[in-house]
Symmetry: C2
């Protein structure tokens, strides 16, 4: 850069406070608490001001940014992929869990317990380069349909959460996904669906290796789990990856408890938020007894800890990004 | 944001090409190759244009951004820390490697082999929260001195590389450290020394755990190695952390070979660079036979692979950021 000053004229849109940044949120306490928090931490003259570099916001994905019922989207992908691989080579079906997966029998997969479940994930997420895997997931997302609604999965992201992500970014936050979903699976759609680039996607890490195949270096996806980004794993992953304690965390299940606990225990203004699935008509209603997205401790302690419990039925005007 | 347009006037410095962005580089071929590459990938109308989001540049740390001879700085820290911990509690010296460390006998530590070395790293980097550890490293950096020059370590970063980092950032690149050094150690100084924030520091990961101590949640540093960010580990870490293949990679030893190989094998314009330590007068001269920063394959293959071999003695006008 030279030292010669130059005048640059830019046309930008006027700042916040003009229009409603969260139009799909009803005018309830939830929305007011969010906008008040953002106003506090961005007020340069206030006691709670946080510099943009420290405005880290972390979001769980399944059940927080998009639908997770009746079964995690990534598991549906895994089951479909095992069936596809088995059509090419039936000899891969070496266990009851894999056979159930190939038959599209998700209950049968669950019947084989945690090991069976992981066998299906492992078989469907390995033996392929990261670049090829990304294409496979993106192709699947174009044709796969939700078992209850028949809609595409990227139509089943939550519109109020998309608005919240955008609002926080407009206010100088950096938004991260911190999810139990696996990194390569989520990256295949996170940029398009949420405007979250790959370096801001934190998740479960499956094994990989560096290989030079016919002179062409690639990162290959291998069987096995390297890091489970759930519960205590979430603060550890955030520390390892971001290196700063977030000031805003949103989740929906007890798998997010430690992430919210660590976030909100920091000094200064902090925000913890739980999306409570209360809307059986427009989405699903579940919490304590659900095997997917179970929420018990978070529900019991949210009040005392000052975490916002978002009531989907009451607080959200619209649920789906597709508008339906 | 509202839709009301607003005029904003900003005063900025005029763009590139006015002043020399790399004043500490001599006017040799090395400098010309770097600036030509940057001009190519930032030329919107050219065939080699790369969007800012894809302008990922990765840098090894030890021997690439700062001194690594006669021994890695982090190992000096580890030895000092073991001595300090042993003054409080001599019973921690349970092995010959730890005893050698406490006596400041680095050769004695090396004599215990890789396991002994790791024992010293592990003991000196655990049993403490991440926040406390950061303070310990920062305190050590203020008083520790290089064994040959007597200078502070942050005065022994390479001025030409600081200029290169800044130049790339000014041209829209995002700069990352990808080093065998451990993440928490490097983060303690990377922002101040290199203007590289914590989320852009990738390195070896030592174990950690999430604990709630007297109601206060912390990330604790534990004994043991979780991920070794060296050789094949570097492309894997870049894929896991950044999720994009870099277009620019700089290293100095064969531990960086795979990172440069993977980076430069991508499509489009790519840049691989090896800092070759050729300056025994101003710094150190070492390559093939060095136990620290050994460079053999990189030296043999750099020419055929089109990687720039930077000759420190010939290509760098100044070595140290301290100006000396």
């Amino acid at each position: 850069m030279s030292l010669r000053p130059m005048i640059v004229v830019m046309i930008v849109m006027a700042g916040a406070g003009q229009a409603d940044p969260l139009p799909s949120w009803n005018d309830t306490d939830a929305k007011a608490r969010i906008t008040e928090f953002v106003a506090r931490v961005t007020d340069v003259d206030g006691d709670s001001y946080v510099s943009p570099a420290e405005r880290i916001a972390v979001f769980d994905n399944d059940g927080t940014l998009w639908v997770e019922q009746p079964v995690y989207t990534q598991l549906l992908f895994a089951v479909n992929r095992v069936a596809e691989l088995a059509r090419e080579d039936p000899s891969i079906l070496t266990s009851d869990a894999l056979k159930a997966a190939a038959a599209g029998d998700i209950k049968g997969v669950f019947a084989q317990g945690r090991d069976g479940l992981f066998e299906v994930i492992s078989a469907s997420h390995s033996g392929i380069s990261v670049d090829e895997f990304t294409e496979v997931v993106q192709g699947w997302m174009q044709t796969a349909r939700h078992p209850d609604t028949g809609r595409a999965f990227d139509d089943m992201t939550y519109q109020p959460m998309l608005e919240l992500l955008r609002y926080l970014r407009d206010e100088g936050f950096t938004t991260y996904i911190v999810s139990g979903g696996s990194i390569h699976f989520m990256r295949a759609f996170a940029d398009a669906a949420y405007n979250i680039p790959p370096q801001q996607v934190i998740g479960t890490i499956l094994n990989s290796s560096y290989q030079v195949i016919d002179g062409d270096p690639v990162v290959m996806k291998d069987p096995g789990l390297f890091f489970n980004d759930d519960k205590e794993g979430k603060p550890i992953a955030i520390d390892t990856r971001i290196g700063r304690r977030p000031i805003f965390a949103a989740g929906n299940s007890d798998g997010d408890f430690q992430m919210l606990e660590w976030t909100t225990a920091g000094e200064g203004a902090r925000f913890g938020m739980i999306v409570h699935h209360t809307d059986a008509e427009r989405e699903y209603a579940y919490d304590r007894d659900s095997s997917i997205g179970g929420l018990e401790r978070g529900l019991d302690e949210a009040g005392d800890r000052g975490w916002l419990l978002v009531d989907m039925a009451e607080d959200w005007k619209t649920i789906w990004s597709s508008g339906e």
